[in-house]
Symmetry: C2
C-alpha cells in the first residue's frame, strides 16, 4: 500500500453562470492506494469549456447530465492528460512509464480498473501535443470534420472559435484537405495568427462586426458549404442563413450558451428546409473507430510541419481555476493546458 | 391553334402574414395555344402551405426565393395535380389522356415543353389518390421518413401536424414499418381519427397542452428517436429536448412560421451536442430516385387497405382561396384538394 499526498482542484458550489475564482478551491488529501490501482503523477492536463456543464446544479440540459455525470462538490474533477506512473498494482503498467488518459485536475490520479489509461509513445513529439492535437481536442476536430462534415475538396468552410483548441485544428485539416477556410476569433492577434501561422484563407474578429449575417455574406459570396460550430448563438443563426444547398453544420460546442449569458440560436428553419441543411451534434467519443487514422495522420502532419499545435500553458495546480475561467473570456490561444510537474 | 377560355386564381398583392380572401382574385383569360403545347383540363389540384412562401414580397428566407421563384402578381399559380389532355401539339400526349404533373390553380393548364407532365395510370385507385398519397405529399412523406429519418423497427416516432397531408402518411408508413408512433393535431376529431382510422399508437391535441416538453416526456417516457417536423416553433424545441441519443429530426415544413405569427424555434443545442441529434431539412424533389419504389409500395398499401388516404376536397376554382387560407387555420383533414371539373 502506497501513501500519496495529493493536492487537487474542486468546486465549492455548483456554478450556473460564468465561473469565478471563488467557486473553486485547492484541497489536500492523503490517499492510501490499494492493489490493482495505478498511481499516476499528472504532468499535463487539459482544461476545456465543456467541463462547466458538469459543474451546473440544474443543468440547462438533462442530456448533459445523462452523458457526463455532474461533478460532486469537494471531489476531484476528471480531465484528459498525460502523466507518469509512480506506482502500479497492475501488470499492464510499470513504474516510470508515460501514460495518457483520463487523469484529474490535481497532482496525482489514482486510476481504478476500467478508467481510460493507455501507455504513451510520444513519437518524438512534445508531451503537450498528446494533450492537444493528439488528444481529445484533436479527435473532436478530426471526427467532426471528416465524419460529420463529410467535406469535398474545394468546399467553403467556416470555423468559429477558430483559434481555440478544436477550431484551430479543424481549420488546418480543412486547408490540408483542399477546402477554402475562413475563421473567426475575438481579437486581432488571434485573427492574425489564423491567417499567418495556421494558413486560413481569411479570418475576422467577430467583435468588430455588427451584422454577422452580412459579414458572412461578405466572406462567403458563394455561400458556406460546411460550418464547424463551436459557439452556437447568433453566429449559428448567421451561418445557417448563409448555408448552401446540402450544407452541413457540425455542432461541436455551444460556448456562447454555457455560461447562460448568450441568447440561444433560433436558426431559420425555412432555410434549413429549402437549402436542405443538416445540423448535427456530435461527441469525439463516437469517432474512436477512426482513432488509429487520426493519430497517424495528425502525428505526420505535426512532424512535417503541415500542422501547427497551438498550446497555451499555465503552471501548477493553483493555476487551474484561472485557466478554466479564462476560457470563457477568450483568454486562451489554442489548447489550454496546465503543466503540473514543474521539474519536467 | 386552339382557343381556350380559362379562369384561374392569382394574388392581387404579396402576402407577408396570414393569407386572406382579399389577397386573391379569380381572373378570366382567353389563351391561344401554340404548337408543341399541351392543353390540360385540370381535374384535381393540390393546395399546400409551402405555396405561401412564394407569395411573400420579401421572403423571410432568401433560400425560399432561390429554390422556388416568387409568384408574379396577376399570373397563374403552379400546383401539382391531375387532369385530362384536351389538345396536344406534342406526339407524346394525345387528347383525352389522363395526366399528372405541374398544373395550375385554374381550369386549364398550358403545358410548355420541359414542364413536369406524365401520363397517368390510375391503377384502379381514385384520381385524388394521385394528387395526395401518390403525389408530392406522398413522396415527401416517403422520402422524408425512409431516407432522412432512416428508421429502425421498434423506434419511437413523433409526427406533428399528423392529420395533415404529409403527417398522416408518415405516421402510417412508420406504423407499417414497425415503429411506435405518436402524433399531434389541433382538434379532438383529428386526434380520434389518428388513433381510430390511421392506427397511431397515441395522439394528442397540442392546443390542450400548456407545457409541450412535459407533454412529450409523458408520451415518450423512453425518449423520441425520430421526429418528423411539419410545424417548427415551440414543438420543435420540445421535441429536441426529448430526443434520444442519435435521434433524427426531419424538418419538412415550418407552418407555424410561414405566416410570421409563430416564434422561431431555438432548439437546445446542448442537447443536440450531447445526444448527437441530427436536424435535417429536405425537399421531396431530392428523393425522385426512389419514386418507383414509392409508387409501387404506396399503391399496394392503399389497395390492400393497409394505408388510408385522407383527402379533403373543395369544389371549383372559386374555392381555391378559401381552401388555401384554411390550411393555416387547420381547417383541412388530410390532403387539401380542389376538384375543378365538376362533371367528372
Amino acid at each position: 500500500m502506497e501513501e500519496v499526498k495529493n493536492r487537487f482542484v474542486t468546486i465549492k458550489n455548483h456554478i450556473n453562470g460564468a465561473p469565478n475564482e471563488s467557486d473553486f478551491e485547492i484541497r489536500s488529501e492523503t490517499i492510501y492506494t490499494e492493489s490493482k490501482q495505478v498511481v499516476v503523477k499528472n504532468m499535463y492536463v487539459s482544461v476545456d469549456p465543456y467541463q462547466l456543464n458538469r459543474m451546473k446544479s440544474h443543468s440547462s440540459s438533462q442530456a448533459a447530465i445523462n452523458f457526463s455525470a455532474a461533478i460532486t462538490l469537494g471531489q476531484v474533477i476528471d480531465a484528459y492528460g498525460v502523466g507518469r506512473v509512480v506506482a502500479s498494482g497492475r501488470p499492464d503498467f510499470t513504474k516510470d512509464e508515460l501514460v495518457v488518459g483520463l487523469l484529474t485536475w490535481g497532482e496525482y490520479t489514482i486510476v481504478e480498473e476500467g478508467r481510460l489509461l493507455n501507455k504513451l509513445d510520444p513519437m518524438g513529439l512534445p508531451l503537450t501535443h498528446h494533450v492537444g492535437p493528439l488528444g481529445f481536442s484533436g479527435l473532436t476536430a478530426y471526427g467532426g470534420f471528416f465524419q460529420v462534415c463529410k467535406p469535398n475538396k474545394g468546399e467553403k468552410v467556416f470555423v468559429s472559435a477558430a483559434s481555440g483548441s478544436v477550431g484551430s485544428l479543424v481549420g488546418q485539416y480543412a486547408k490540408i484537405f483542399g477546402c477554402h477556410v475562413v475563421g473567426c476569433a475575438g481579437t486581432q492577434d488571434k485573427v492574425n495568427l489564423l491567417k499567418e501561422k495556421l494558413g486560413f484563407d481569411e479570418a475576422f474578429n467577430y467583435k468588430d462586426e455588427t451584422d454577422l449575417k452580412s459579414t458572412l455574406k461578405r466572406y462567403f459570396p458563394e455561400g458556406i458549404d460546411i460550418y464547424f460550430d463551436n459557439v452556437g448563438g447568433e453566429m449559428l443563426e448567421a451561418a445557417v442563413a448563409n448555408m448552401n444547398t446540402f450544407g452541413r453544420v457540425a455542432v461541436c460546442g455551444v460556448i456562447s450558451e454555457y455560461t447562460g449569458g448568450g441568447r440561444s440560436a433560433a436558426p431559420d428553419m425555412l432555410t434549413v428546409v429549402y437549402n436542405r441543411v443538416t445540423i448535427q451534434g456530435f461527441l469525439a467519443a463516437d469517432y474512436l473507430k477512426c482513432y488509429g487514422d487520426f493519430i497517424s495522420t495528425t502525428a505526420e502532419h505535426l512532424r512535417t510541419g503541415k500542422m501547427q499545435a497551438l498550446c497555451d500553458i499555465s503552471h501548477g495546480v493553483e493555476s487551474v481555476p484561472s485557466a478554466f475561467i479564462g476560457l470563457f473570456r477568450g483568454d486562451n490561444i489554442g489548447k489550454k493546458i496546465v503543466q503540473l510537474e514543474m521539474n519536467e
